[in-house]
């Protein structure tokens, strides 16, 4: 591989990619259609006629950062409730069920009030109120047709049916054969038009199990929860988005309904549909069905701001598990002008076997199984962390990881990145975007998320131009501003032998 030759090829490639890009953006400009319905809902459509199927992505601009105090995990709980059906789907008699659900809420409010008492607890009374609440639940439950909503989707050929909640937002998605487009428009709008908080308390138990699985029973899950609680104060990013266990035993169906009323308004949501679509007909369909959702004001956006960090923070867990290392540095939200600089830093530090962290920690020092840095931990809507982590090789400690990562950060601060590295990162971001364009679900996600965050899906492509403009000076400047000890939080998982059973 002669060096000169490699450079020449790279130049040619660059031009080819650039042209392909201009063409793709131009072609997308023509093929992506955006509309805001009268009620404020933004809809994006993209005709991709490769096969008679489509995928969609609904994103709600509210996540667990919006959970009210004392009710952490509520946004995620609401996501689970969006599978419980409507006043038509999932019930044998909605009128009777509605009345029964109201009695459940009244009984729960009484029980919860007594059960939350610290002083003068009356255990007998609490037990009675609990029994009354459980009886009311049984009565309401007799009207439920279990899982009818997802069942309709599944039997109509829905695949990839799921949803997710982060601290920043909540998203719903699946794919269907294209002859089910109207059925989809009906179901997806109905779930946000006529939601019913049925089986709420049983679903709370399910979410408790989700918490046990992801957090309580997982060493890295436990470390992440503790790490974030130390790294953030003020900002809601200090909370676990699955919620604290006590809040999961406390919040009510009424709380979820109120959360829904506030945040699930058309002006706060974006829907993207990608597949074998007739754009005009689909818009008409979406307008008819989603247009039924009443408009509402965009919810208040204020949240407590993260305080400025002035000294290093640190959390160490001693667990019966192999070690793990993570550290994070506070940085501005995704709207910051330097946002793309962090993408370049991630590319150079973490992507592929040429990345600096792989080469230093894995290949040369041989102290880690994996090492990388990434932006936006645990979200990027608010001030957040640029995080580095490393998985120590057998026999190496978490502390060694910190030292080796800092060495690489210092190089970045002093010398920045080489022209070759910068070029490589730019080429790869273009290619990565190109590769993402051949997938209905992936496209729906990209279009909806860019529309939601930047008010324009084109940011998906413009970001590439912005990355192209990043210089070595930018990288050095940002690294020197952000990657400093007083702005750092360290999370360490150290091995402690279990009392018995699992060893090593």
């Amino acid at each position: 591989m002669r060096r000169l030759n490699a450079h020449l090829t790279l130049l040619v490639l660059f031009c080819a990619l650039q042209t392909a890009f201009a063409q793709d953006l131009a072609s997308f400009e023509k093929r992506v259609h955006v509309k805001t319905l009268a009620n404020g809902l933004t809809v994006l459509l993209l005709d991709r006629p490769q096969a008679p199927v489509f995928s969609f992505f609904t994103v709600v601009d509210a996540g667990d950062a919006q959970d009210p105090y004392g009710k952490t995990g509520l946004a995620h709980m609401m996501e689970h409730m969006a599978f419980k059906g409507t006043n038509e789907i999932g019930t044998t008699d909605f009128t009777a069920e509605k009345a029964a659900l109201a009695r459940v809420e009244a009984a729960y409010a009484e029980y919860d009030r007594e059960n939350s008492r610290v002083v003068n607890r009356d255990e007998k009374k609490i037990a009675e109120l609990k029994a009354a609440w459980e009886k009311a639940r049984e009565e309401a439950d007799q009207y439920v047709v279990k899982n009818e909503f997802p069942e309709i989707i599944e039997r109509n050929g829905g695949v990839g049916l799921n949803a997710s909640t982060s601290l920043d937002s909540t998203q719903y998605f699946y794919s269907l054969p294209v002859n089910r487009l109207e059925l989809w428009a009906y179901l997806e709008s109905d779930r946000f038009l006529n939601p019913v908080m049925r089986e709420f308390y049983k679903e709370r138990d399910v979410v408790m199990e989700e918490r046990r699985m992801r957090t309580d029973s997982s060493p890295t899950g436990r470390l992440v929860e503790q790490f974030l609680s130390v790294a953030y104060d003020g900002s809601p990013y200090h909370r676990p988005n699955i919620g604290y266990a006590s809040d999961l035993r406390h919040f009510s169906a009424t709380d979820a309904a109120n959360f829904f009323k506030t945040y699930y308004v058309p002006s706060n949501m974006v829907v993207a549909v990608v597949g074998d679509l007739d754009v005009d007909k689909t818009f008409a369909l979406v307008d008819r069905y989603f247009g039924r959702i009443p408009s509402g004001p965009k919810p208040e956006e204020y949240i407590t701001a993260q305080t400025k960090q002035t000294s290093e923070r640190r959390v160490t867990l001693h667990d019966p598990s192999q070690p793990f290392y993570v550290e994070g540095y506070q940085k501005p939200n995704f709207r910051d002008k330097d946002d793309v600089v962090y993408s370049v830093i991630s590319g150079v530090m973490s992507e592929g076997r040429t990345s600096r962290l792989y080469r230093a920690l894995v290949r040369d020092k041989k102290i880690a199984v994996a090492a990388a840095g990434f932006s936006g931990f645990p979200g990027d809507k608010y001030r957040n962390l640029y995080a580095f982590y490393a998985v120590p090789s057998q026999g190496h400690s978490a502390t060694e990881m910190g030292a080796a990562i800092h060495e690489e950060i210092e190089k970045l601060k002093t010398d920045g990145v080489s022209p070759d590295e910068l070029k490589m990162v730019k080429t790869r971001s273009k290619a990565a975007l190109l590769r993402s364009l051949a997938n209905n679900q992936g496209l729906a996600i990209n279009l909806a998320e860019n529309q939601l965050k930047y008010g324009d899906w084109r940011e998906l492509f413009r970001r590439i131009d912005k990355i192209d403009a990043v210089t070595n000076e930018d990288v050095k400047r940002v690294a020197n501003e952000v990657f400093v000890e007083s702005n750092r939080t360290v999370g360490i998982l150290e091995t402690k032998s279990a009392a018995k059973g699992a060893r090593q």
């Binding site: 008679p52 049916l161 598990s321 070759d420």
Partner: protein
């Protein structure tokens, strides 16, 4: 492999999923305003005809089988070759050999270029050439922009023909693998996966073996070179290419690139022993969890079995999605779990495992086991209702299009059928087979393939919280998962020597 798990753990902490995991008869017109007032009113038109493009199959004179699929949507080309022979046939005292081979094949570079030089060259072009080792095959693949195809193909061919397996990269791969071994007891799910294979296939079976420090240490560079020599010949390779190219030109290019390569010895299929462990309750004690990971394990079927279709319908009814019996009864109604599901598994060339799984809080461990047992009893006692049967078949048939909605999926199916000697129209046979399944078929296969008395019950959890409950269900066998030290003899490939029952 560990990295993926840890990354998953990290991202799981950031993003919470809500899961774990054809009614064309209604033709009522929608109301005049065009808005249906009930979902049942919505007409489902016929799905537009769609014939997936089958790849072109070419057999080179040296026996290499090539599949070509043109896809001009984007200026990209990808290719992947499956090579017969995998870890199922590696020697027991060198368990891990094929995984080390798959890693070092790429990182060890070619005779001309080191792996690090390949990294520089390929990553500058946003291209990839990767290798891997799996149970039945090893693989080499590429992914590049159309403009770079000739350069990348050159590297692909060089790596296929002249790999160097440099010693330093083998040492690195071994270090990585040993680290993976040291981490395998950290998460309940990882422990459960490993023990599931052991209980299901038997501790000495190649389908259940895992690398140990001693077996990793036993692997040499010479082993990798030998493996390559014995397996990687054109007549053992199925190579599929999809992307923005002209098939005729591509065929000519590949004929030229591989034509000179002489045939080698045909790889024979390994004889793998299957000797499932005895039925019973097996417990791995893990002190740092508040949830029990429960699996019930039995032997499944080979996909060639004609009952495969009825079993797929049964699985859908029993433990498939949101509307399955396990999900509805144990999650939605009982609130016992977030993750629950399962069914009779199937393999392409050997029986899969029947696995029912549920994760529940320590206190309800026995309730969850009893709940799964009840569902097994019910499955074997009565045939599904007509409605259940229809739902399950609709689910499979209406989502059928997603088996072949991209050219890459179609190509991959065809490569797989070729590799395991299945008919090229297997998907079509599958559709026809599912259509014919009756409620009586489901009852019959449930009784034929699900044997409650043979199921091994595996529990990974905090034993002090459920030991009394489990003792009431039957004799409990503890599993010791202590990782053997590197000094242990290589023949001790199964560490979990059982302690006497208590």
């Amino acid at each position: 492999m560990k990295t993926k798990i840890l990354m998953a753990a990290l991202s799981a902490a950031l993003l919470l999923g809500s899961l774990q995991a054809q009614d064309a008869t209604t033709t009522t017109q929608t109301t005049s305003a065009g808005v249906a007032t009930n979902w049942k009113q919505i007409a489902i038109p016929a799905l537009p005809a769609f014939k997936p493009q089958l790849p072109k199959r070419v057999v080179l004179p040296n026996g290499m089988i090539v599949f070509l699929t043109e896809n001009h949507e984007l200026p990209l080309i990808t290719g992947s070759a499956m090579i017969r022979g995998g870890s199922d046939s590696e020697p027991a005292n060198k368990t891990g050999l094929v995984e080390l081979y798959g890693e070092t094949w790429r990182t060890g570079g070619t005779e001309k270029l080191s792996g690090d030089q390949l990294d520089d060259y390929l990553e500058a072009r946003a291209a990839k050439v990767e290798t891997g080792g799996s149970d039945a095959d090893t693989s080499i693949s590429f992914d590049c922009l159309k403009a770079d195809f000739n350069d990348v193909l050159g590297i692909f061919v060089d790596l296929l023909r002249n790999p160097a397996f440099r010693e330093d990269k083998l040492a690195l791969a071994k270090k990585q693998m040993n680290s993976g071994i040291s981490r395998r007891n950290d998460e309940s799910g990882d422990i459960a996966s490993m023990q599931t294979d052991i209980l299901g296939y038997g501790k000495a079976s190649a389908y259940a073996r895992v690398p140990e420090y001693a077996t990793v240490a036993a692997v040499t560079r010479e082993d990798l070179l030998q493996w390559h020599k014995q397996h990687t010949s054109p007549n053992n390779i199925i190579f599929g290419v999809v992307g923005d190219f002209d098939s005729k030109e591509m065929e000519a290019t590949l004929r030229k690139a591989f034509g000179e390569w002489p045939k080698g010895e045909k790889v024979s299929e390994p004889k793998v022993m299957i000797a499932p462990e005895k039925p019973g309750i097996y417990v791995v004690d893990k002190s740092d969890v508040n949830q029990s990971e429960i699996r019930m394990i039995g032997l499944g079927i080979e996909r060639k079995n004609l009952d495969y279709f009825a079993l797929q319908v049964m699985n859908e009814i029993f433990g498939g999605g949101f509307s399955s019996r396990l999900f509805i009864n144990l999650r939605t109604k009982a609130g016992l779990a977030y993750a629950v599901g399962g069914g009779v598994g199937s393999g392409w060339d050997h029986p899969g495992l029947t696995i029912l799984q549920i994760a529940t809080k320590t206190e309800t461990t026995a309730d969850a086991i009893k709940g799964l047992w009840e569902q097994v009893d019910l499955l074997k006692k009565q045939a599904p209702s007509e409605l259940e049967l229809k739902r399950a078949k609709d689910q499979i048939l209406n989502s059928f299009i997603f088996n072949f909605d991209t050219p890459a999926k179609v190509l991959h199916e065809q490569e797989t059928y070729e590799f395991y000697d299945y008919p090229r129209d297997f998907l079509e046979k599958y559709r026809a087979g599912v259509e014919k399944v009756t409620a009586a078929d489901v009852l019959r296969v449930a009784n034929q393939y699900v044997h409650k008395e043979d199921l091994k019950v595996l529990v990974i959890g905090n034993e002090s919280g459920f030991d009394k409950q489990l003792a009431a269900l039957g004799p409990v066998t503890p599993i010791d998962i202590t990782i053997p030290t590197p000094e242990a003899k290589a023949e001790v490939t199964r560490p979990e020597g059982r302690k006497p029952q208590h």
